[in-house]
């Protein structure tokens, strides 16, 4: 597509040729910088899900000055996680001050997946969730497991509401 920097085209090409295991990336029509992402919940985490497993929807956008500034990315699936807020915004250092142009869409998505395995309640975005995580981790994990089942497993097979 005209106007898209080679760097972006290269990344897309590699994502297609050599997909990240457990992460599906697809372009959104008419905008080469805009992607839908489906991320599998990591095993041994509350986001794994039973049956078909947790599959989380995200959207990702490469701003005008990418790769000098980081991609913008957020969850569309409801998440119970101390570093993800009610609008799916993600608190992750490489999406902010720790961004480097050497990172890529691929590394960003892997880092987000890793964040699901290792919630960090000491650097919270969702304060109520972080508090729960610190005061009663068992209950927090149980809630995250329930939300995963409801919004990231069962929701895929539920009949769409009329």
């Amino acid at each position: 597509m005209a106007g898209a920097p080679k760097r972006i085209l290269k990344e897309i090409e590699r994502l297609n040729r050599d997909p990240v295991p457990g992460i599906e990336v697809s372009s959104v029509e008419n905008n080469i910088r805009y992607f839908n992402v489906i991320m599998g919940g990591p095993s041994q985490s509350p986001y794994q899900g039973k049956g078909a497993g947790g599959r989380f929807k995200l959207e990702l956008f490469l701003p005008e000055d990418y790769p000098m500034s980081p991609p913008k990315v957020r969850f569309l699936t409801k998440m119970y996680h101390p570093n993800i807020d009610r609008l799916g915004r993600i608190c992750l250092d490489i999406l902010k001050d720790k961004w480097s142009p050497a990172l890529q869409i691929r590394t960003v998505l892997l880092s987000i997946q890793a964040l699901l395995s290792a919630p960090n309640p000491d650097d919270p975005l969702a304060n109520d969730v972080a508090d729960q995580w610190k005061t009663n981790e068992k209950l927090a994990i149980q809630t995250a497991t329930e939300w995963t089942q409801k919004y990231a497993v069962d929701a895929w097979t539920a009949k769409p509401a009329v």
Partner: protein
């Protein structure tokens, strides 16, 4: 030209709104903080000094559909107001009657809509008798907030 997708554009606007504007006469945010697709917004405008709107706080709702910002938001006063361009029965704003908004551009923002309404209140033609303070349009004419809609629960 890079086109910022609707959702990321609205997230930017939300961040601006959360920071608050330096001018201090308006504020805005999501009507429902769990509205992942950010359809319903709520705003308030403080009436300009030396106008019939002075010292009154006006609540406004904005609905950004899937075509925002290519298409303008649907804007409606919740607080009753007598202002040219605002439907007297429903509070709906006809953006074509509001200076600076009559030809919508996708670069326009919620903040600019509020600013244009504030400017409209300041104009000479808007020196009109006003309904009682705090009165609101009948709730039936309000836009549905918290509607279940196509909110993604996935």
């Amino acid at each position: 030209m890079t086109e910022v997708p609707r959702n990321f554009r609205l997230l930017e606007e939300l961040e601006q709104g959360e920071k608050g504007s330096s001018d201090g006469y308006c504020s805005y945010g999501l009507a429902d903080p769990d509205d992942v697709l950010m359809y319903n917004w709520t705003a308030s405008i403080l009436g300009p000094l030396n106008t019939p709107f002075e010292n009154r706080l006006y609540q406004v709702s904005l609905y950004c559909d899937d075509n925002y910002p290519k298409q303008p938001p649907k804007v409606r006063f919740i607080t009753r107001i007598n202002l040219p361009g605002v439907n007297q029965n429903t509070g709906e704003v006809d953006l074509r009657a509001i200076e600076y908004l009559d030809k919508w551009k996708s670069s326009y923002t919620i903040h600019m809509v509020l600013k244009a309404l504030f400017t409209k209140m300041s104009r000479k033609e808007s020196r009109l008798a006003q309904p009682a303070e705090h009165s609101v349009y009948a709730s039936g004419s309000r836009p549905p907030t918290n509607q279940p809609l196509q909110r993604s629960t996935l």
